[in-house]
Amino acid sequence: MKMKYVSIAALLAAALASPTALAQKTIKIGNTNPYSGPASAYGTIGKTIGAYWKMVNEKGGINGRMVEWISYDDGYSPPKTVEMARRLVEQDQVLLIFQSLGTPPNSAIHKYMNAKKVPHLFVATGATKWNDPKSYPWTMGWQPNYQTEGRIYAEHILKNNPKAKIGVLYQNDDYGKDYLKGFKDGLGDKVSMIVKEVSYEVADPTVDSQMVQLQASGADTFFNITTPKFAAQAIRKAYDSGWKPTHYLNNVSASIGSVLKPAGLEKAVGLISTQYIKDPLDEQWKNDASVNEWKAFMGKYYPDGNLADASNIYGYTVAQTMHQVLKQAGNDLSRANIMKQAANLKNFRPETLLPGIRINTSATDFAPIESEQLIRFDGKEWKRFGAILGK
């Protein structure tokens, strides 16, 4: 009986004496992802990142500290994201929130994270607004933003086919409209080249009707701003109905495994898109060391994960970026220093990025990846062409 008291007292004393020491033994990283609901296809990103930290911990952690990954389901519903972000920050007391997914969910917690001064890092959305260090010094995006990508296609069209008649299909939400805006900005005063723009809703079963409208408009160039399922439908319909326009596909769906294969590789020949991460199903990376490393990682730490799903290599690559920031932070795991290090990435290169693409940030540049390369599908692999675009 006495023993018990003594040990409880000892435990209490230990707990009271060193809250900071305890806190510093682990690095708590928070996250929200849609593990349920209509956007659950993206939930695999959170699972890949969780597996990544498991690997890091097995190899001894970061600067001797273990990573504790706390990821909650928000079902892609902004109110739930707010609740979960508060739980992470106020109850779990995470050091930072990393890779929370989706533009509307992140918009909902944007102000909160900055008011609380908690790093809100490398959010999983390509909206342009995350690169705003002046007004939101605690929030940072990661992937190339949608508007820039839209501009790249516009410039390519202006250069190669200035008489093009363009049809656009876009998802009727923030993501689709961001792409469309960048594309229109890129066309500038030639915006009348767009002869038809049609939208679809995520709940629509098919986009066949929209494709018929585009075909009937007489467009000879097609900008396809769709998520994987609809991209595959549109690629197939454009081919089957004999339209066969010059087809620009947004990077969101430029995955051989999860889009082109289901649509039929022969129907995807000639597609133009952009890329910044290696596509694991692309023949040219068959013997690539970094892709094989990723495959080995998947096999060991996330065996349920689908190797054809581009989200999984995305998760792996973005986790490496977070890893780098924490490495750089060294023993100063204050939130201010995390932000400082996140804004101090110099020529960092996870090898799963395309050759030549590097991550650079600074106090005035909160856009880690700003370059991508145009690619064209030849039926087997994405052929890169032209220079690396952007910074």
Partner: protein
Amino acid sequence: MIVVALVLLAACMLPFVVSNYRTFQFTLALVYAIALLGLNMLTGYNGQISLGHGAFYAIGAYTAAILMDQYGVPYWATIPAAAVVCLIAGFLFGLPALRLEGLYLALATFALAVSLPALLKYHHLEQWTGGVQGIVLLKPDAPFGLPLNPDQWLYFFTLAITVLMFVLAWNILRGRMGHAMVAIRDQHIAAEAMGIHTAMVKSMTFGISAMYTGIAGALGAIAIQFVAPDSFNIFVSIMLLVGVVIGGLASISGAIYGALFIQFVPNIADAISKAAPWAIFGIFLLGFVYVMPMGIAGAVRMAVARLTRKAQNQAAKP
């Protein structure tokens, strides 16, 4: 009566014993309780099935958000505005819905909930609704220098409105209107024969029900500080229906049980399994329906009845 007083007392103590985050969660639970009470009047008491109350929740939320964002209206003044807008919207929707019963009404309401996000995104309304980007709001501080932080203040504000709405509901339901509602649900032809203006009562019920849900939506928007079309998909409506049934149809206290269920059970499901949180949630649903087919309120009622009977039996024994 004593129970109600005790619950109220506990509710007032709550923000001082739990964290701000928990306080915020309970604020949301109160918001859902108001919405569920509204849906329960329509579905539980009046027998009209709505699969689309998320739409009224959204209308209330957007009314509050637009007034605050565009016209600088103070947050507390948006609540009555949301109430009026939703009362009218509900009443108007209730008029054609009069001819629809059962499944057909379910479809009509379902359609309303599915179409509303598209309407919120519609580009001609964008200047008010903020389109796909939604509207970001500011969190109100406690007035009059009260020593409360914003979470606590919002909790008490919501609690006060919740109490008001419950008292109002209690009065409506035990008055003429309430009896008419139940009479129409159980025997609508007989009710008509007895001189109840069926059409009026049904449309009015629809309006009042929508008003409750709209007030909840406005409070929800203020608590979350953000509205966007993605916040109001069809699952909001489905969750409200689930809450009403699990809480207990045709029961005022059921709204509270249901609100606690839809606020907290999804989090429990998420904690149990990341791989398939919905599967766990579904199993919870099945479990509750099997064990308590009349909802939690029904089960409580039966338990109380059994206990009192036992007590009476014992007292009767010499």
